[in-house]
């Protein structure tokens, strides 16, 4: 199902402005969801108070969650006329996700950055991206000498490229910083945010050594036709204003066995993702056989994100 969405999105990207297949699919989904939507609109009347007194994610029962997801789905239907499905895939026992990125292969095309925005429904205006691609000077590993606003053809002979996103740290300073536990590390290592619990103090953003967190200073906007309807409650559902968000290794995909959107978009195969606890996984093989480099290792946060050479 979500693979289909991904294909649709890609087609839209290629044939810009057409996307007829997608439009008709959305209409179909809208009709399908119409019954649920009308039922849910009456719920939306009581929404402000329910939303205000909504408890922390970890204190919600399954029943609570069902009601909340229905309320959120109805809100999107009301506001955008788009039928979305909010689900909540659980971490899988024996899985610890990790990322490895080949610094020698990355060409700095930023396709990961834009695929991420599309997949994760990040705001288009103001424009928000979880991934920052650094154009690095050859001969230096110092990110302070990098350039994030480069333009023109890539790669250039003088540079190499280093995409940076949330490193899902084992000792995450952002998790410790949060005064209300609105952000935490899941058992599979993914650091998530409860968008309805965050009070918006931005201490986590100050604490992060990877510039991985993003705050919604303004109401995030995504065009209805660009909304990815396959949404995780703790990942890519549409966020409210005034809360923090971040990369979740696309947990709504990866917990179902799919790859993160950034990896699928990469034309060079620089990105490897998988289960660190599985000795045969690609990411484990990379860490065991390649020369691995950890960004800001001196910050002591023990990331689950590795750069490698070769």
């Amino acid at each position: 199902m979500s693979e289909d969405h991904q294909n649709d999105d890609e087609r839209e990207a290629v044939v810009e402005g057409v996307g007829k297949a997608q439009a008709s699919r959305r209409r179909f989904l809208q009709v399908l969801g119409a019954a649920t939507a009308t039922a849910a609109t009456s719920q939306a009347d009581a929404a402000p108070w329910e939303e205000y007194f909504q408890q922390h994610y970890k204190r919600l029962t399954d029943e609570d969650k069902r009601a909340i997801f229905a309320r959120l789905e109805a809100e999107v239907q009301d506001k955008y006329g788009v039928t979305v499905r909010i689900n909540d895939p659980k971490p899988i026992d024996g899985v610890e996700f990790a990322y490895a990125l080949n610094l020698q292969a990355c060409v700095g095309c930023r396709r990961c950055e834009y695929a991420c925005a599309q997949e994760n429904n990040t705001s288009r205006s103001p424009e928000m991206h979880y991934i920052r691609v650094l154009q690095m000077d050859k001969g230096s590993l110092d990110v302070e000498r990098s350039n994030t606003t480069y333009e023109g053809a890539v790669p250039t002979p003088e540079h190499y490229y280093q995409p940076v996103q949330c490193h899902q740290c084992r000792d995450a300073p952002c998790v410790r910083a949060c005064p209300v536990n609105a952000t935490w590390a899941e058992p599979d290592g993914i650091v998530v945010v409860d968008y309805n619990w965050c009070i918006g103090c931005r201490y986590c953003e100050a604490a992060c050594p990877y510039f991985a967190r993003r705050f919604n200073y303004e109401e995030p906007t995504v065009r209805p036709s660009e909304i990815n309807p396959d949404q995780g409650y703790l990942s890519n559902r549409l966020r409210p204003r005034g809360v923090m968000e971040k990369c979740t290794y696309c947990l709504h995909r990866t917990r179902k066995g799919l790859m993160p959107a950034c990896l699928e978009a990469c034309p060079t195969g620089s990105r490897k993702f998988g289960n660190l606890l599985d000795p045969n996984s690609e990411v484990r093989q990379v860490i065991e056989t390649k020369r691995v480099y950890i960004l800001h290792e001196d910050a002591g946060t023990n990331p689950r994100f590795y750069y490698y050479f070769g």
Binding site: E144, A177, C178, G200, A206, E218, G242, G300
Partner: protein, 417 residues
Amino acid sequence: MRDFIAFVRSSLGAVVHGSSAYYRWLAFLGVWMLLGCAAATYQFANGLGVSSLTDQVPWGVYIANFSFLVGLAAASVLVVIPAYVYRDAALYDISILGELLAVAAMVMSLLFIVVDLGHPELFWHLLPMLGILNFPQSMLAWDVVVINGYLFINAYVVSYLLFSKYCGRVPNKRWYFPVLLLGVVWAVGIHTIPAFLYASLGGRPFWHSAVLAPRFLASAFVSGPSLLIIALSVVRDQMHFPVREEALHRLRQIVGVAAVFNLFLTVSEIFVEIYPGTSHSASMRYILVGLHGHNLLVPYIWTGIALSVFAAVVFLARPLYSRPKLLLVACASAVIGVWIEKGMGLVIPGFIPTSLGEIVEYSPSFIEFCVSAGIWAIGAFLYTLMLKVAVPIELGTLRLPGAPHERIGLDPVRGAA
């Protein structure tokens, strides 16, 4: 209980009756308060997008003022310790005025935190049981505890002392002294925890420094008593409160030593950052000389340093500090100097460059300016009203009908009886 109602009624009476200068002052503050409320409402309705804050610089003038104001509360502990522990009679007379300044400072710093939140209406998430307070892991949770605690401690002690005096009774030491001592210990937290809030972030080299907490303490010991000297002069001239020269002298000695020590710590920090020239010194270079052509805050920080140096010289040279007007100017310079250094001068460079080397500069938006000015006006308004009640009670002119009308409790030792 009836006495307490009379106390509240007398207080309200004292607050609404005053000279025309008093009304003009309140009206002036009122205008800024209204402007601030309007701006805060606008921000609440439209979100923090109306600020100049970015993902690169997520904290600005609000958190800067917060950092400064937790220091200002030092005015309280620096008069309480000499007055109650060392029984300094001159400072004992004015200790209530110092504690009230701490109350006003705590209220302001809490307001600055509230306006900085993306969802201030969700404050209940911080309440233990009802919400979740991430204590003791989060330094911000510690901050919530120490600031509210310090506000409560000071508010309780001054209310009790003033109420006792209003009733013509000698305050019972058992009822306030343990809390007062707790306040002295708590004061260490109120200056140290905000410093740790910054210093604990390993990914921000500019803040990640062991000397930051001592710097917070030293600069607090400059700004708090300096502002208190100004307040005392106003109270003496406008409200005829007999402030002893010794009290001003003692405070001036404290700020003199603290100002020099603060400059020394600042110089140590600058030296350690700049001399070896590691990449971690980028923020310090940004604030002092600019970085890659970005130098928005350079004139700002040098103004702060110049004011601090000027104040320190005046505080230490007898021919200078013995001129009351010049002393007041020096006090104002010291307060502004610390406000620059411990405010935006500390907060903004911590984010420049970002941990990925980006440089995005920050200066407050018009809305941020109005909200900040409004909160300062609220603090000044509150302090004025509290003084308007406290001074006549201290003077013995505001009393419960039938209570003796002389001044009470010059000697804290006698208060123990």
